[in-house]
């Protein structure tokens, strides 16, 4: 028997992986969780049938959601990750010794459990003593938080029922309120090819709240449309002007995707992308 997993990126486009084995399958309070072992991409984590990560290419996403912010903020002492229950994002955050407290707010503790079991190379940071886990809905967690975080990273799933509230203007306002006066945020903001309107919607909402904003693009082979967008917003520092070279030069880890040059490159937007985010309407 040949077993194939297929993700429909739209009703009319799909990406499929041949599967060695279904390693895990359950239904948590919030979503369907599966781990499959594939021939080409290693183990793959699926939430509600969508690829969250593959062992082969997760480094691109996780390095690029974390390091632009972390190397820019001069003192990223307290960092909050919303979502990211697989642990990949906090793994990258924890590589910065300047970070004293890493909080992770994940709605579904089943995801963390599953990652600890099947993705130890992502989940090992859960055992870092700087990490505090909150099992709670992100937008609720942020309510009444005021000027607490240096950095907030929104590493959510797509806007389905589970995390629809993470795409609201109200939520972006509470991000603004929750970071300090020189704080920064980054949001995974979906596919510029498959869901350009969603990219624009996030960008415009965030732009209306934060004094500085950038969109950057990263190619991720197993995500819909292959070109992923991140929305970075800041109260003071700019990744293009305030990148901390010294910290980079002394960084003891070898990364596979991120360099300051690659970061800068990812901020160079093709005209078709500028048109999407800048056009009226």
């Amino acid at each position: 028997m040949e077993l194939w997993f297929t993700e429909k990126h739209t009703p009319n486009t799909s990406l499929s992986f041949k599967v060695k084995e279904v390693l895990y399958s359950s239904h948590s309070k919030f979503q369907d969780i599966k781990v499959i072992e594939t021939y080409d991409w290693g183990k793959v984590l699926l939430l509600d049938g969508l690829v969250m990560l593959t062992e082969k290419d997760e480094f691109i996403y996780h390095e690029m959601i974390v390091h632009p912010l972390l190397f820019t903020h001069p003192n990223p002492s307290r960092v909050l990750v919303i979502g990211g229950g697989d642990g990949g994002t906090i793994r990258e955050v924890s590589r910065h010794k300047e970070v004293k407290v890493i909080e992770l707010c994940e709605i579904d503790d089943e995801v963390i459990k599953v990652s600890k079991e099947f993705f130890p190379q992502l989940a090992h940071s859960f055992y870092d003593p700087r990490v505090k886990i909150h099992i709670e809905e992100g937008s609720k967690f942020l309510k009444h938080k005021n000027s607490i975080y240096d950095i907030i990273i929104v590493d959510s799933t797509d806007p389905t029922q589970v995390c629809e509230s993470l795409y609201s203007e109200e939520f972006y306002h509470s991000l603004f309120e929750s970071i300090k006066e020189d704080g920064m945020i980054v949001i995974q903001s979906e596919s510029i090819i498959i869901t350009p309107q969603r990219v624009k919607d996030i960008y415009v909402k965030v732009r209306n709240i934060f004094p500085q904003i950038w969109l950057y693009l990263v190619p991720i082979p197993t995500y819909p449309g292959g070109i992923w967008s991140f929305t970075l917003a800041s109260k003071r520092y700019s990744p293009l002007e305030n990148f901390n070279k010294k910290r980079w030069e002394n960084f003891p880890y070898s990364l596979k995707y991120f360099t300051p040059e690659v970061m800068r490159a990812s901020f160079s937007l093709p005209p078709f992308v500028k048109k999407i985010i800048e056009e009226e309407k």
Copy 2:
């Protein structure tokens, strides 16, 4: 009935498009040629079952295979395109008024015919009086050519039977011989994700012949692995140092992907890519 086209990027990974209609299907002397109308990607040209282009994203490939070279060479008077029978590459070349002669060497005249019928927005440059068409095998065509071209662009299909000779050291030697003493070439050099060894093989062979070489990366949603590589080699000029700003500022066309900044960005290679092309063996 639901009709789907599937391309296997490897035996274990595939991309599928829902099809409205099969518009054309034939078998030329060299290959199977099909045109399908899809829901998401417009019309798609398939050669031997592989996606050559889709109407929706072809601009990325064609702008990025042409403009880095064409804006760098100070006098790109005579340009040769090997392959590229769909016309997309010569469309971009013809936008440079400095070019006086555009030669296209395509092995299969059926591809040109099909493109003229189904992809007029790519094929219109075939009617440009500067364009001369040679229906011939590229490596044969180049034999005994000496210092003729300013620029050669190798826009071939994957190394199947049809164009295997376009991946040989001998062929790269004849590229070197066929360009002038300040000539430049670019080769579409396959997927850094799906066929990294092939990328490296092309890169190493070309590096052994040309005094200057660069690899650059472009995200192409409908190509295997989503991150495509191009190998640019030069006898004198560097795209990073000799880019012709003035010509760019006076360029009368609005492009959708290429800008000088995006070009420069595409030359910033992530460490995992450097490792592939630089490692011994």
